[in-house]
């Protein structure tokens, strides 16, 4: 195996934007040849492992590595003293040590590193490092952590962010008032490819890191500070990524592998097992939400009040931005004139929480959708109708006062899902596999009640609140072997979602060539921004489009010159220069000759703005994406078992660059939302994770997932390239609340916590 593989792809099944072009890496992935980060191998490499804290909170009095160093095969043992630069990393705030020095603040915090010739040797040596811990009381209740007298996890205190939002008259009253408390458990991204990387020391004293990540450049920035090296010496290359979902935004093996490589002078491979992976990345914030709606007797919302507490765990990660979403978007896609929202992110000694698909909107959606159902029932209005009555429309202002300046088809999405055909009624003698409990043979249909639930939600696309959110693309056009070839180079991470397919489709469309090579992704080109916030098709897509346009302009300019014509009216198509009425004027080969035309462009979406610290008002977001779900469930109300029978959805994607890939995103996103509603929870007691394995942390299997009907709307956003609207996250936000609503409808219980467990359904 060589290391220079990753996402390099050269096959190009044709397809322009709007076509369901096939993935260029599909064949490599089905033959086993695609090189994921954990597959990398290098001559002479050694293995790195991490020693982690067994305590959620402790002072480190000393670390003795003597014994570990004597283990045959060990090449290095490193502690905080060996970090050459700043011993602090972090996405938004550099508050997390590369290796703990004075304190450990969560169970699983990295304390020391070992390199050895075999992973088992390294693990055994790590077990012989003696760390002298003084165990300290752990702050594990986030509500208690907010108290003035709570012990601080960090100085000066435990508040990461308090977002305060006030709109209209916060003290207004209404004839109908409904309220609830809701709790959302901690979800794990559970990407299948474990955190892995290969660090290769270079002759110039620098290091090359091949790693699975979501944003090469933000990793590089943190790594340079920790390694005390300039960016020219810290070069990152995207290795094959086995899913991400937010869990690869923060650093994992990055600095550790490089430290070991630089110390040993040998390539170092690090790859977490599944248990370590549960400690090796942030999770979705668990949340405690208190919501109140005031409405007219017909159900029209008068006001909404919300208080949300998110447990950020031991380090800041992206908690502040998650609070931003939970606050500014936390009341859903509704028109609400009077609003008071307080959203808090707090430090505790629990596992750090950060980004996961849906980012702050997921937790809020469970609360606002449960409360909307309650309001519907109280005022006696149909649950679809009440959402349509209150649903946002284009031109409305949301709760931060921002005008929704492109499509907001809330009512239509709900209508579509409610009009979709329902699954057949249960048969008299159903196949066991189609029932709750399945082949566990717990019921043949007795005690099984069907329920239907709906939800509609919205989410920001791209980074918000004034962040300089851009992507860079380099596009090159040249003749190779008589054929025109475009090469597209971005640093934007392909994590499985299909960005590389989209990059090719855009190049084919803009340059009229068939063959598009996706250059391996690395830091030799400018930042592509993060593969998160459903932003890559929009922002990196926008950059690729702009770079293609720049290349095309140069080519057409040259053609115009040699043809003695105006540039206006010339087009590039099928490797030809074409005139206004479609006549072929010259071959691309004639214009390019031996030259390559290459352009690099940075693309920015419209600026967003910070919100007012007192009122939370402001144009915080660049784009909004809407989706609705309908879930149909069969619930064994005696045993509390649930079978999801159907999960149908409608979503506005602006423009489907690749319709099949769009549907694939919606399928997968829906599954993750359903998982949180019914089964997925990282169980943490007293700061300890109780279920760090796929035996005990359950994600939906093919038996759990129902068939899905997916309807895609394409209301172009006039402000976005091709009119696209981010796709990846909305389905994860609306599917869970729809499933929860369906289970409520079946069992008649309030169910104010997810994941819903059997005992919640049976009330035992």
């Amino acid at each position: 195996m060589s290391t220079d593989v990753g996402t390099r792809t050269t096959t190009t099944p044709a397809g322009r934007i709007g076509d369901s072009a096939l993935r260029p890496d599909g064949t490599l992935k089905v033959t086993g040849e695609f090189a994921y980060a954990s597959d990398l191998w290098h001559d002479d490499m050694v293995w790195g492992v991490t020693l982690r804290s067994p305590h959620p909170h402790a002072r480190i009095r000393g670390i003795d590595i003597t014994e570990a160093l004597t283990v045959p095969g060990v090449t290095a043992v490193l502690t905080a003293d060996d970090v050459p630069g700043e011993n602090a990393v972090g996405l938004e705030h550099a508050d997390q040590p590369v290796l703990a020095s004075e304190f450990v603040r969560y169970e699983g915090e990295p304390v020391a590193l070992v390199a050895a010739d075999h992973p088992e040797t390294a693990r055994r040596a790590a077990a012989r490092i003696r760390v002298d811990y003084e165990v300290l009381p752990a702050v594990t209740d986030p509500l208690r952590a907010m108290d003035e007298d709570a012990p601080p996890v960090h100085r000066p205190g435990n508040l990461v962010r308090h977002l305060q939002l006030r709109r209209g008259d916060p003290s207004v009253t209404a004839p109908v008032v409904v309220s609830l408390d809701f709790e959302v458990g901690m979800q794990d991204q559970a990407f299948l490819g474990p955190e892995s990387g290969l660090a290769v020391p270079a002759e110039d004293g620098g290091v090359d890191l091949y790693v699975a990540t979501q944003w090469l450049h933000v990793d590089q920035r943190q790594m340079c500070l920790a390694l005390g090296m300039p960016s020219e010496k810290v070069r990152l290359h995207l290795a094959g990524v086995g899913g991400a979902f937010g869990g690869r935004e923060d650093l994992s093996v990055h600095v550790h592998a490089c430290l070991l490589a630089l110390r040993t002078g040998r390539p170092v491979k690090m790859s977490y097992g599944r248990e370590e992976s549960f400690f090796g990345h942030v999770h979705r914030h668990p949340a405690w939400l208190t919501y109140e709606f005031g409405a007219e007797r017909d159900g029209t919302l008068v006001y909404a009040r919300a208080r949300t507490v998110l447990d950020g765990g031991a380090y800041a990660s992206s908690t502040a931005a998650v609070v931003g979403n939970a606050g500014t978007l936390g009341l859903g896609p509704y028109r609400i004139p009077n609003v008071a929202v307080d959203a808090y992110g707090v430090f505790t000694n629990n596992p750090p929480c950060g980004a996961m698909r849906g980012f702050g909107c997921v937790q809020a959606a469970f609360a606002h959708e449960a409360l909307m159902d309650e309001l519907a029932d109280v005022v006696g209005v149909d649950r679809i109708a009440i959402r349509q009555l209150n649903g946002m429309r284009e031109g409305d202002r949301n709760i931060t006062g921002q005008v929704i300046d492109s499509a907001a088809p809330v009512a239509e999405l709900l209508q579509i899902v409610s009009d979709l055909p329902l699954p057949a009624e249960r048969e008299d003698e159903p196949d066991l596999r189609s029932l709750p409990g399945a082949v566990g043979n717990t019921t043949h249909g007795e005690g099984v009640v069907r329920g239907i639930g709906y939800a509609v939600t919205y989410k920001n696309v791209g980074f918000s609140e004034g962040f300089d959110d851009y992507s860079t693309a380099r596009v090159r056009l040249e003749m190779t072997g008589g054929e025109a070839v475009a090469t597209v180079h971005t640093a934007a991470a392909e994590v499985g979602q299909g960005l590389i397919t989209v990059e090719q489709q855009i190049c084919r469309t803009e340059l009229g060539v068939e063959r598009v090579v996706v250059h391996p992704k690395n830091t030799a080109v400018g930042s592509g921004g993060s593969t998160s916030a459903s932003r890559q098709t929009y922002v990196t897509g926008g950059a690729v489009k702009a770079a293609c346009e720049a290349v095309r302009a140069v080519v057409l300019e040259r053609a115009a010159l040699s043809l003695g014509r105006e540039v206006a009216g010339l087009r590039l198509d099928g490797e030809k220069i074409v005139g206004g009425s479609g006549e072929v004027l010259a071959g691309l080969a004639d214009v390019l000759g031996e030259d390559a035309v290459e352009e690099t462009v940075e693309y920015r979406h419209r600026p967003t703005h910070a919100i007012d610290p007192e009122t939370g008002q402001g144009d915080a977001h660049v784009q909004f994406a809407f989706s609705a779900h309908r879930a149909v469930v069969d619930v064994d109300v005696e045993l509390g078992l649930v079978k999801v029978v159907a999960l149908d959805t409608a979503q506005d994607v602006g423009k489907a660059i690749n319709p099949d890939a769009v549907v694939g995103q919606i399928h997968g996103g829906s599954a993750q939302g359903m998982g949180l509603a019914l089964m997925e929870e990282v169980v943490v007691t007293d700061g300890h994770v109780r279920n760090p394995s796929f035996t005990d942390y359950l994600i939906p299997t093919i038996l759990d997932m129902p068939p899905m009907q997916v309807k895609v709307l394409e209301y172009a956003d006039p402000h976005a390239p091709y009119g696209v609207r981010g796709v990846g996250e909305p389905p994860t936000i609306s599917s869970g609340p729809a499933v929860a609503a369906a289970v409520r409808a079946a069992c008649g219980r309030a169910l104010r916590r997810v994941p819903i467990r059997p005992e919640h359904i049976t009330g035992t």
């Binding site: 033959t31 040849e33 490819g193 499985g496 394995s693 299997t701």
Partner: protein, 156 residues
Amino acid sequence: MRITTTVNGTQHEVDDVWAGESLLYVLRERMGLPGSKNACEQGECGSCTVYLDGEPVCACLVAAGQAIGREVTTVEGLATEGELHPVQQAFVEAGAVQCGFCTPGLLVAAHDLIERVPDPSDLEIREALAGNLCRCTGYEKILDAVRLAASRQAQA
């Protein structure tokens, strides 16, 4: 320990294998065959599924020593003479591959299903693939791929 095993029709011999190593580790790290994946190494995800003497197994649960003298087929051995097997082709065409980390194991499991049950019902497909986790696709297009492969196989 020396391990001699036939993998994808070729005899492999590796030395100095530590007794605790799994078949998965030996395939991936010693034989240069990293196609079988390591998503959990706890027998819970199916990403490491390979044939051992014709039976699909989780390679992470098989001690390397147990594979001595036996025949292993991995995802790398499904294609013949550069031609994708119909199951592989169907996964590509149906969009059943996103990140693809689940794919090698699913391909072996789906291959096995179609060999045993030429025209599987949806419930049979779901049951056969229940041990293979996928986090990206929600399984809909995996079902499409298996249906497509089965129908092509039936016509062939």
